[in-house]
């Protein structure tokens, strides 16, 4: 059944403060909509259950990208084109710029927002592996104030997250300290354009005196939500990259991932591909050290 515009309402209170007041007055009643690349698809198909929506598109406070010497704060409603065009994202967070280029098409990238990608909570979200690898923090806002949580703790179950009913995702914070890290991001999908990931792996690592001093691994489509691979990281931290450590990391990865069979791939294929991606990253790390 097609969606019917007459059965849904959409309001545009304007400024961010007015949106937050509305969410506080009727928590859980209003569904925020920004670029609409998820919700309008559901709407057109008659699958949008939310009867009341509140507009976030065009609120400047939510779309700014603020740069300080220490960090970059990306407004939750910054689009993937905004990210692709930003000089500091390109220089300091190339994995995020790369992930932004994977989002749908140019028309999708100009509307789809980073915050929307996270709140939507797809296990296959393109931006998530990079954000996990960069140790992102996310900031929530409501009339009660603001709070920050590590992005790695944001998703709590399939399509569930830590946002309270009166809160919005406000910003994504990235620390600018990965210039000397080896950085890696690869997505395996059916085709290059417009494809959803079967598996994706993002990674950053710092090697000092031959040993892995820091490592972060973020994965898509290996669990019910984008996940940081903490067990695999633990198997590698402090180690020298040798065939033996690669093997033990591979075992840790296979033990902690929880892939499923679905329309896009099988659990078995996802296991093999994820292990191969990890291999590829670790071999690069072994041969090239941690200079990016």
């Amino acid at each position: 059944m097609r969606g019917n515009a007459a059965t849904h309402d959409l309001v545009a209170p304007g400024e961010l403060g007015a949106v937050l007041e509305l969410l506080a007055a009727e928590p859980g009643v209003w569904t925020p909509i920004a670029g609409g690349t998820e919700l309008m698809v559901a709407f057109a198909a008659g699958r949008l259950t939310a009867p009341k929506l509140v507009n976030l598109w065009g609120i400047p406070d939510l779309r700014t990208i603020q740069v300080t010497p220490q960090s970059v704060a990306i407004g939750a409603a910054a689009t993937f084109l905004d990210l692709r065009r930003h000089a500091v994202i390109a220089s300091d967070f190339p994995l995020l710029a790369k992930a932004a280029s994977w989002i749908g098409s140019v028309a999708n990238q100009g509307r789809a927002t980073l915050g929307g990608n996270l709140v939507n909570g797809s296990p296959a979200a393109d931006s998530s592996p990079a954000l996990l690898a960069y140790d992102a923090e996310i900031e929530f806002i409501s009339v009660r104030g603001r709070r920050r949580v590590p992005y790695s703790e944001f998703h709590t179950a399939y399509k569930c997250n830590g946002l309270a009913p009166d809160e919005l995702l406000y910003a994504i914070h990235l620390p600018r300290r990965f210039a000397h890290h080896k950085q890696y991001l690869r997505k395996v999908g059916t085709r290059r354009a417009m494809a959803i990931a079967k598996v994706a792996l993002g990674a950053t690592a710092l090697v000092e005196n031959g040993a892995i001093r820091e490592i972060r691994l973020g994965a898509a489509s290996l669990a019910p939500f984008p996940m940081r691979l903490l067990q695999t990281e633990a198997a590698l931290l402090g180690q020298t990259v040798t065939p033996d450590t690669i093997q033990s990391a591979r075992r840790a990865l296979l033990a902690e991932m929880k892939p499923i069979d679905d329309i896009r791939s099988t659990a078995e294929y996802r296991k093999r591909v994820a292990a191969n991606l990890l291999d590829e990253f670790l071999l690069q790390l072994r041969h090239e050290g941690s200079q990016p």
Binding site: T7, H8, D9, L10, V11, A12, A45, V106, R192
Partner: protein, 189 residues
Amino acid sequence: MNKGKRTTPSERCPAISFKVNGETRIVKAPPMKRLLDVLREDLHLTGTKEGCGEGECGSCSVRMNGELVNSCLVPVLQVEGADIQTVEGLTLHGELHPLQKAFLEHGGAQCGICTPGMLMAAAQLLEQNPHPGIVQIREALAGNLCRCTGFIRIFEAVAAAIASDDGRPATGPNTEQTRHAQEQTHHAR
């Protein structure tokens, strides 16, 4: 909203004002009505086509404040105050846009459903990058699907429009660069 009485949201049809192809238009429509439907049904601008209705095919591409969007994914309330360009706005003083001429001359259109979206995506590309190579042309059109003429003639038409516009030789589909690009992007389809 609508507190205290049993109303359906459909009773709310705010007047929404925006520019279409340079002209200010005011429509009264449910705020969630898709820009695509407003263009076709309220404004009778039927050049913009519906293909998939889910942002995958690009047939409904229009430009909104200088960016390419799928009009099937834009609720009309979000275009309040915006500047929209549709395929009808590509012609200038009754003269076809160089892209339109090139699509005609190079067989870039067959059934025509994808063509308005292809033209708008190509126009967006040329606005951002007046001298794109074949890699950029392919990326810019990656969100626009054609199910009859195939993509090569469309890419050729865009390349020809660039050549006709500035007199420079286009990066045509038979060059070394093109073959390399085809290897790079053949999964794109």
